[in-house]
Amino acid sequence: MENILTQLWPWYIAGPILGAMVPLLLWLGNKDFGISANLRHICAMWPGKKPAFFRYDWKGQQWNLWFALGIVVGGYVSGYLYPGDPVDINPVVVERIQSWGASAPQTIVPPELFGAAALASWKVWIYLLLGGFLIGFGARYGGGCTSGHAISGLSALQLPSLVASTFFFVGGLIGAWWILPRLVVWITGGGA
């Protein structure tokens, strides 16, 4: 058991499990696999004045909040109780990341961006809030995130999801090659 929860699951195991969530949720209750919808439901919980987009009965979407809570608990079990082996990625990518001043992978994410000590830096806060803002704004504007478009939308042969997923990738390439390196250098002061 411990072994399963510490080693890398190859794509041909993990992909089918994630893909199976689409029919599983349909079969259970005709529910659409889409994680970012929960961000909207959380906004809809706000009891005060709110935009029309958030005025609906979020309690009718409780199933998805339970699903999201499950993800958190799953992350606790596999990421906290049984942290895995160091992420073993392509050495060319490691070298590039180190040249920005970030550390080589020892943990699943770089502690200098996501660890408790990192939050002492206001630059890290800007980085996280900016990244999160773009994700939240873009997911609702684009009508879904990786789960809703790239996995469940494509599974249901939705052309809009193919367009959205394509542009996820366009934005991703711009972000990964052009913006992120500058942001990390700005935070860390750059690499050797």
């Binding site: 929860l5 041909y12 993990a14 089918p16 499990i17 994630l18 893909g19 199976a20 969530m21 029919p23 079969w27 259970l28 209750g29 005709n30 529910k31 659409d32 696999f33 994680i35 970012s36 961000l39 909207r40 906004c43 935009p51 987009f53 199933w63 999201a68 499950g70 958190v72 992350g75 596999s78 990421g79 895995g84 990625i89 392509n90 990341i97 996501f114 939050l119 996280l128 809030l129 990244g131 999160g132 803002f133 773009l134 994700i135 939240g136 873009g138 997911a139 609702r140 504007y141 684009g142 009508g143 995130c145 789960s147 790239a150 996995i151 990738f169 366009v170 934005g171 390439l173 992120l180």
Partner: protein
Amino acid sequence: MKVLFNFFYFLAGMITGVTLIQSQAASWYRIQEMFQFGSFQLYGVILSAVVVGMIGVQLLKGKRSLEGAEIKINDKNRTWTRYIVGGTIFGLGWAIAGACPGPTMALIGAGWPGFVVLFVGMILGTWVYGLLRDVLPH
């Protein structure tokens, strides 16, 4: 019954969370590796997920779900601006943060405080979209 089904959805979420961590789809490093075309791992995850999802959807369409509702696929609106502009903005955030919403929740569970801040940013972005929705082109 409702409670039982909510428990099933919770379990499905747990499996998803474990899989996101164990496949390292939740790893900032893996996301960068994907966008730098350094490995097949995450491409394989998405592609094989779509194949399995597609087969499952075809098998289930028109059948009745366990909760009772008929299983049907809601076609997404075919107005393209939102998918192009919103999709690009989402992609920027995905690469910059090195995570998308599902992995963010899993990493909060894994005890990384930075992802709580990232999550707050996501809620802010969602809220601002709600404020601007009527003036944005879709």
